[in-house]
């Protein structure tokens, strides 16, 4: 192979690789990006989209119901304006509390309940999950500092 041809082959190879890589990245992004919505936005949805969301806000006081015979738990997530009922099967994070910030990831069901497959709460004393804080601010209720959350 002549030097010029070889260089051309290398350039083409690199380009092909870049195209494949870009396609992979874009495709993966489309399928696995999880958007964040607030309870108000979720209640206002006209149709139920078939994808995973994150919802954030505060655990409504007095809304947590644990089924003592199974591992199911139900609670409401509120941003001060609207609330959404959430169902979750499993162990809640250590710092899950009524009146505290929480983020749930899952799907919205036809009956308006949010079926969570992941629940995140703050991971230390001082902070609120950033998404929870944002939900409350978007609903017009300013709150404290942003910070970390504990996933589980």
């Amino acid at each position: 192979m002549k030097k010029r041809h070889k260089r051309l082959a290398i350039v083409l190879g690199v380009l092909a690789g870049a195209v494949v890589a870009t396609a992979l990245v874009l495709n993966a992004f489309r399928d696995s990006m999880v958007f964040f919505v607030t309870p108000s936005e979720m209640v206002a949805m006209e149709e139920i989209p078939d994808r995973t969301f994150r919802i954030g806000g505060l655990v409504e006081a007095g809304s947590v119901q644990r089924d003592t015979a199974s591992t199911l738990v139900m609670f409401r997530v509120t941003d001060g304006a609207e609330g959404v009922p959430v169902v979750y099967d499993g162990i809640l994070p250590n710092l899950f509390r009524e009146g505290q910030g929480v983020v749930a990831e899952g799907r919205l069901e036809g009956d308006g309940t949010f079926q969570a497959n992941k629940v995140l709460a703050r991971h230390d004393e001082e902070y609120m999950p950033p998404e929870a804080q944002e939900a409350i601010e978007r609903a017009g209720h300013p709150s404290g500092a942003g910070g970390g959350y504990d996933s589980q």
């Binding site: 890589a21 992979l24 003592t68 499993g90 162990i91 809640l92 250590n94 902070y127 944002e134 910070g147």
Partner: protein
Amino acid sequence: MIPEIGQFALILALCLAVAQGVLPLVGAARGQERLMRSGTFLATGQFVFLAISYAALTWAFVTSDFSVQYVTQNSSLALPMQYKVTAVWGGHEGSLLLWVLILAAWGVAVAAFSKALPREMLARVLAVLGLVSVGFIAFTVFTSNPFERMIPMPADGTDLNPLLQDPGMIAHPPLLYMGYVGFAVVFAFAIAALIGGRLDAAWARWSRPWTTVAWVFLTLGIGMGSWWAYYELGWGGWWFWDPVENASFMPWLTGTALIHSLAVTEKRGGFKTWTLMLAILTFALTILGAFLVRSGVITSVHAFATDPERGVFILGMLAVTLLASFALYAIRAPKVGLGGGFGWYSRESLLLANNALLAVACAAVMIGTLYPLVLDTFSMSKISVGPPYFDAVFTPLMLPLLFLIGIGPTVAWKQSDPVQTYRQLRYVLVVSVLLGAVWPLAMGAWSPLTALALMLGIWIILTAALDMRNRMARRKGRGGAAMVRGVMQPSYLGMHMAHVGLALVVIAIAMVTTYEVERDARMAPGEAVSVGGYQFTMLNVGPVEGANYDADRANIVVTRNGREVAMLTPEKRRYFSQPEMPMIQASLNRGPFRDLYVSLGEPLDEHAWIVRLYYKPFMFWMWTGCILMALGGFLAASDRRYRLKARESSGTSQRVDTAAGKAAGEVG
């Protein structure tokens, strides 16, 4: 008084670092020997003062001097002594002090072990390390002073984060920093080569052991972090694609590429400018990692408290590094030259493919890590990019790479023939495909991706074995001792060891993601749950007390076919310092082919608890694989040729591999 000594020593170290960053460089430019030699002296001085500073902070912890704010925030009277010593790097300020101490230690090591380097080269390397030190020490002094006093002094501290009160956490940060900071040495070598305009096989031979050792520490650091997360976080996860994990994984990927690119630079004089680019990028990625962890832009277990000033400082450091290095690169790289040519099918071309795949993988990880941050910064929308993205992008990039690992070491430099490779490896190929296809059946369920991953794992192990056998066979005429010596050559053996380690990790990942069983169950005393063929029976839950916490502890007996396998005792702890934040302490029974894993959730009524039970196959292989990779790296770096040849070729000689044909064995 002692904290002030520490502070003073830190400032002195900064002054020495400034001198170290300037004087040897001036000396090298003007050919003044005394100035050039000052680098060694200044590097040692810098290290000594940083060691004094570090010792002062440790003293403040050991004596519980709560007038130092950082001690108050990360220690308490009740904290056990071993954790008081390690709490020094439990927060942002102290861990940064450890960082600069390790950086200075690398500098001293370079000065001590590189006597054979040409003196201009050594002077420039030490000067660049000095400049890097200036950046990080200034960052410590001006934004993150660990010796800040607190008046009035509190009676007790707020304690070390309970998650960090664990042996795994003692080792994780120092190992990781050794790796991160080690790449600063490689960066310094690259910049010195650019300034000097000289990059030959000798340069590659000096840089290789440093790169490999840095890579070994980074590997161990990442592995240790994963091992810690696995049992300490209590949810059985070992990799989360968390931005901070990615921050350490990105330089690992480019560092791995760099090791392989350096092999070409040493053996064939090729890939020169690409090697330099990788060295610069890897170092830049370590600074990016520091930014992600320390600026507060992301929130995770790792992230330290938020302070925008710090983020700006590190971004500035990153910008200066990139601008200066790329400017130098643009001006000088053409002078370095491209190096020898090679055929389309040769070890060089395969290593080129390796580098391309690793670089693209790194880019993909970077996009997934930074994109949500960028989007959020410009307030466009809030999204999260989770494991599905990384799995979808990363897996297809790694599969061809794993296949190439099997071929690479058997292919000759410069020009080879795929037909020959096929003839040599066809039986191994068939055996790997068969074994990989059958193994999942033995585990109980078959999926194409699992089978493919297992095939590739077996493929790497078998090709390594075959290559070693062939190498011995080629030396048959020279007697048994020569045969053994051939395979026992450290750089050769190290390469295969690291590859086999990776194969074990791949097998473990395939196994655990496919066959793990996870179950949340409500358990009252006397009740039993079956997971993965094991019977878990709850005996009781009772209170226990520790040094700085109290806890509920469950006793769960595990049986298989009626025989007792293990007694597991998961706890839910309340540390006195953080009564509102209970911590789970998982309990594990580890075995060569499976781990049994239990963590305690929450109480449902007076007797029953929610318990999470796991059956996790082949986790042992993952940790073994990491250790093998690290050992392989150490072995390769210890090869005598790096020391001997460095001495004789400190002139201009360029080693030409005469055995470029079949016999060329080593990449490690």
